[in-house]
Structures are given as structure tokens and as C-alpha cells.
Amino acid sequence: MTDALRSDSLLHVDNATMQFGGLTALTSFCLDVKKGDLQGLIGPNGAGKTTAFNVMTGVYAPTSGNIVVDGQRMNGSKPHRVNRAGLARTFQNIRLFKDLTAADNVRVACLVDDRPPSSIFNRARLDARRRNGQRVVAHALDAVGNYLDWWRTFLQTSAFRRDEERITETAHRLLDVMGLGHRKDELARNLPYGEQRRLEIARALATSPKVLLLDEPAAGMNTREKAELMTLIRKIRDDFDLGVLLIEHDMKLVMGICEKITVLDHGETIAVGTAVEVKQNPKVIEAYLGVESKELQA
């Protein structure tokens, strides 16, 4: 456990196991993501990759094991807490807010933060309280702070207006980064598939994450789009100072950009290493295609 609290580890999963009744979806899953990492999580269908994501982001509480995000232990925390701690994700089956505009999709993810550092409701101070074990107090203060936010909304104070401007500005900026600036007022459901995927990434980025989890970001894209996506992911990792973890089925993409790859099969980790190491690992080859794999050696 002390290992996990090394200051440079942004996401540390320590032997997480996930059981659903009689089915064990994930066994002793370990992972460590540091700032600037670009890691991959691969495995045949049903290997437990999305389950791993769900466990890390708090959708499921792990049956055993620890999830530590930016130094905070997050097992069993609700997804919105995990997100605030610094973990953002996209979904395998796109989950955009379909009837909202692209800009609004991103705005939702921008957190209201105009609480001055001196105020007892300031988010950083509340998080510090939580770390010190003052969870109940922090929760109560958070609730009161939120109700005060509502009042500022009703009265339309200057603080509120500044917040709105800042949120809109951030949203537009992120949309531009993802090449969606021209679509900001378009309803999310009207966007072409590739743009929807990019919008999901923009939305996740709006939560100011420290680690970005991408669940099959390239699914359904053609070769050119995938190449563009690879460049984009690298750029995001650099510009936003993040750690990135991707689930992907496209081997070329994964081998192309991931520096470290974890391979799952039936919930168990069968290999961890660089692209070259993993490609040649006999267990990995067997898990994917039985005996030989031309695909992996491509």
C-alpha cells in the first residue's frame, strides 16, 4: 500500500478482484499509471477490460483490492467522487447527452469552481478535509455550498455570470482542440459517428482529469480516422499533462502508441510489457487466436 502513495502514481490498482455472484470477472488486477504514460489494456472479447474500467471509475465496488487515485483510496466511492479525484472516461457504446448540443455536453462536465480559496466551501479545502478523514463535515459543507450556488443562480450574481463565461469559454476551447469547433451548437445526436467519439473525449477532458480512460475510442473508424486519432491522443497526453489508458481492439493502434500494455484474458492478467514483448508472448498469441497469429505479427 505504501508503494501506491508514491507521489508520481496517478492511478494505482492493487490486486482488484471483481465477482458478480458466482462469476469472477476480474482477478487480482494490477495497474499503475503515471503522468505522461500512454498505456493500453487489451484482451479478447469478454476478457474483463470494460469491467476493469468500471471498477476503477467506481461504477462497481471491487470485491477486494484497492483503487488509489492521486493518492486517495477510492474503493467503493461513487463515480462522481472518483471523477473529482482525477479519473475521467469515455464509454464503449457512446454515452453522449443526445438531446443537448455539443457545447452543452462539454459544459456539463465543466465543474463550477468559483469558490474563493479562503471560503470554507472551496473544493480543494473540502478535498483536504476528506483526506484527513473529516468526510461527514466535508459532505455537509459541500451540500451547503451547493445550495448557496443555487441562490447565486437564482439571483444571477456577478460570480455566477463569471462562472458561466468561464465554463462556456472552456467548452469552446476544448471543442476547438478536438476539431469540433464548428459543431458547437449542433445536437449531439446529429453528429457523425467519428465526431461523436471525439466529443466524448472533449467532454471527459472538461472534468480536468489527471488520468484519461478511453474505452475503444477508435471503434468504427476507418484507417485515416484512426491515424488522426492516434496523433490526437498523443497530443492530448502532452498538452494536458495526463496519463492515458486505452482499451482497444485494433492492434496496430495499440502497438503504435502504447508504451506499456496489459493483457487480460478471462479476467486474469496474462502479460504486461512493451508492445514488442507482448506481441511475442506465447500466452497472448494463444489467447487471441489459438495457435498462430498473423495479426499480431503484422
Binding site: L96, D99, L100, A109, T153, F154, L155, T157, E164
Partner: protein, 338 residues
């Protein structure tokens, strides 16, 4: 000009306009009563829209919160009727005490909203609907069995303090607040919950807390509407707050378009005026009160049929999710979407 003073502009405009309308209609009591009925329904529809339309939680017991507001405000008013604030002229003192009773009633209603919102956290769709219906019914049964609230006959003798001005001022407050919620991060969070709760949660929205807050805000305003209602009806009877009333409000929100404040307002106005108009028309043409009564009875099955037809033909209602202020040319005048 500091932000919140600019925020008071709509009210600053509303005050003289409403005073003018009140003065102009002071000799037309029928019109005044009608406008009060319409006003209360508008407030109810707009407040329900916050939960059903914006947050996507289907609540069908809204009349229960109206009842809480009505009864509590009525009781407080009756209790303080003998008092007066010494340094104020009687009329103003009455109105002040009236406002206090409204706020107290609405606050208790908001508290009930919290209590109802709490179990709602774990429930979805149909279950939530039934639980909200259940709460509405439980409130009604409790009231019917409590001496203080006058049991089945209801609370009588509530001082009649509602004026056209005060009723519609409340309506203006509710509409403005609903609009401001919509154009804020809170509103966006509610909409996100409606669209995809899991994604909203993953993006940092505390869905649990927001759903409860939606209930609290909506029930507060329903309670406010109830208080206004109590102070012109003078008699607060449990039969006014049954499932039928809840359904009326639901029909208004659905017909207007789930999620649209403008839609809720327009639908509430139309659906309140139309039956009245029909009733008067029947009465005028046939001269018989019983036929007019028939029109009243037919109103209910027609509401039901209306819901079915709307769902089959135009499920998004009149306005869908859109608002008047987002459409040209209103965008310029009303400062679009803020």
C-alpha cells in the same frame, strides 16, 4: 451594475405591470378568479417540469406537495390572523403575514420534497412514479384523518389574502427561477441526468444529490402555489389535491413538452381556460347547469385520452424541449437561454 441587480430587472418590470392589470380588472371578479386559477396551474406545471421535464424523473404525486403548502400556509395564516404588525397599516401587515405563511408552507412542502426525493434515488421509471403517487395519496389520507386540518371537510376560514398581483408575482418568480436554473450548471446537470444518468455520474455530477434537489425545488414551488390557492379558496379540502389534480398537472407538462418551461406555461393556460370556456359555452347554449356539469365530468376522460393521443401522435408535446426565448426574434428581447 452588479450582477444581481440586473437579475432583479424582470421583477422590477413585473411589479408595475401586474399592479396595472390588477387595477384594471378590479371590477371584473370573474376574470380575477379565472386568472388566479390559471396562475396557480402555471406555477404547478412549471415546477413539475423541473422534475419531470428537466431531470427526467416521472413524478405523478405533485398535488401532494401543493396540499402540504396549502394546509400549512392556511394553518399559519389562521393562527396569525388575530395578530398584526403594530407599526404597519393593517393591509400591509396582512400581506406581510400572508407572505410569511406562504414561505412557511412552501418550506414544509420543500421538506416533504426532500423526504420523497430520498427514496427516489434508488428507483427508476415506473417504480418512481408509483412511489410519488403513493406519497400523494398518503398525504391526502393523513390530512383526512387529522383534526387540525379539518379532516375530510377540510380547513375552512382561511383569510382571503390572495390578490391578482400576489398570485401572478409568485408565478413570475417561479417562471424566472425555472428559466435561470435551465441556463445554469445546475440545470445542465439535471438535463444530463435525464439524458444519461451513468454518463452524468461519470462526468462528476452527483446524480443522487441533484435528483433530490430537483424534488426539493419543485415541491417548494408547488407548496407556494398551494398556499396561494388556499388564500383565495378559503376552504382547503382534501378532495382538491387528489390523483386527479396530479394528473391535470402531468397532462399540462406533457402536452407542453417535457423539459420546456414555455410549453408548461402555455399548456397550463390553455388547459385551464379551455374547460372553463367550454363550460360557459355549454351553459350559455343550453341554459342547463346539468349539461355544464357533464362537461366538467367529461374533462377527466378527455385528459386521459389526450395523454394517449399526444403520445401516439406527437410525444414531444407542443414545444418539445425548446424554449420561447431560444427562438428568434424572442432571443434578442429576452436575452436568449440565460
Amino acid at each position: 451594475m452588479p450582477g444581481f441587480l440586473r437579475g432583479l430587472v424582470p421583477f422590477a418590470i413585473a411589479v408595475p405591470v401586474l399592479l396595472l392589470v390588477q387595477w384594471a380588472t378590479s371590477n371584473a371578479p370573474f376574470f380575477v378568479i379565472l386568472s388566479l386559477t390559471v396562475g396557480v396551474n402555471v406555477a404547478l406545471a412549471v415546477s413539475l417540469n423541473i422534475v419531470n421535464g428537466m431531470t427526467g424523473q416521472f413524478s405523478i404525486g405533485h398535488a401532494g406537495f401543493m396540499a402540504v403548502g396549502a394546509y400549512i400556509a392556511g394553518v399559519v395564516s389562521k393562527a396569525t390572523a388575530v395578530f398584526g404588525i403594530s407599526f404597519l397599516p393593517e393591509l400591509i401587515s396582512d400581506q406581510v403575514l400572508y407572505s410569511v405563511s406562504l414561505v412557511v408552507g412552501a418550506s414544509v412542502a420543500g421538506l416533504f420534497g426532500f423526504l420523497v426525493g430520498l427514496p427516489s434515488l434508488r428507483l427508476k421509471g415506473d417504480y418512481l412514479a408509483i412511489v410519488t403517487l403513493g406519497f400523494g395519496e398518503i398525504i391526502r389520507v393523513v390530512v383526512q384523518n387529522t383534526e387540525v386540518f379539518g379532516r375530510a371537510l377540510g380547513l375552512s376560514g382561511v383569510p382571503q389574502r390572495t390578490t391578482l398581483f400576489s398570485c401572478w408575482f409568485v408565478v413570475v418568480i417561479v417562471v424566472v427561477v425555472a428559466r435561470r436554473i435551465r441556463g445554469s450548471s445546475h440545470g445542465r446537470a439535471l438535463l444530463a441526468i435525464r439524458e444519461d444518468e451513468i454518463a452524468a455520474e461519470a462526468m462528476g455530477v452527483n446524480t443522487t444529490a441533484y435528483k433530490v434537489r430537483a424534488f426539493v425545488v419543485a415541491s417548494f414551488f408547488a407548496g407556494l402555489a398551494g398556499g396561494v390557492f388556499a388564500h383565495y379558496q378559503s376552504i382547503v379540502a382534501p378532495s382538491s389535491f387528489g390523483f386527479v389534480k396530479s394528473m391535470e398537472i402531468v397532462v399540462m407538462v406533457v402536452a407542453g413538452g417535457l423539459g420546456s418551461t414555455t410549453g408548461a406555461v402555455i399548456a397550463a393556460v390553455l388547459l385551464t381556460l379551455l374547460p372553463e370556456a367550454l363550460r360557459s359555452a355549454f351553459f350559455a347554449f343550453t341554459g342547463s347547469a346539468s349539461f355544464a356539469e357533464k362537461a366538467e365530468q367529461i374533462r377527466m376522460p378527455i385528459y386521459g385520452l389526450l395523454l394517449v393521443v399526444i403520445m401516439l401522435v406527437r410525444p414531444q408535446g407542443l414545444f418539445g424541449s425548446r424554449e420561447l426565448w431560444d427562438m428568434q426574434p424572442f432571443k434578442r428581447w429576452l436575452g436568449g437561454g440565460k
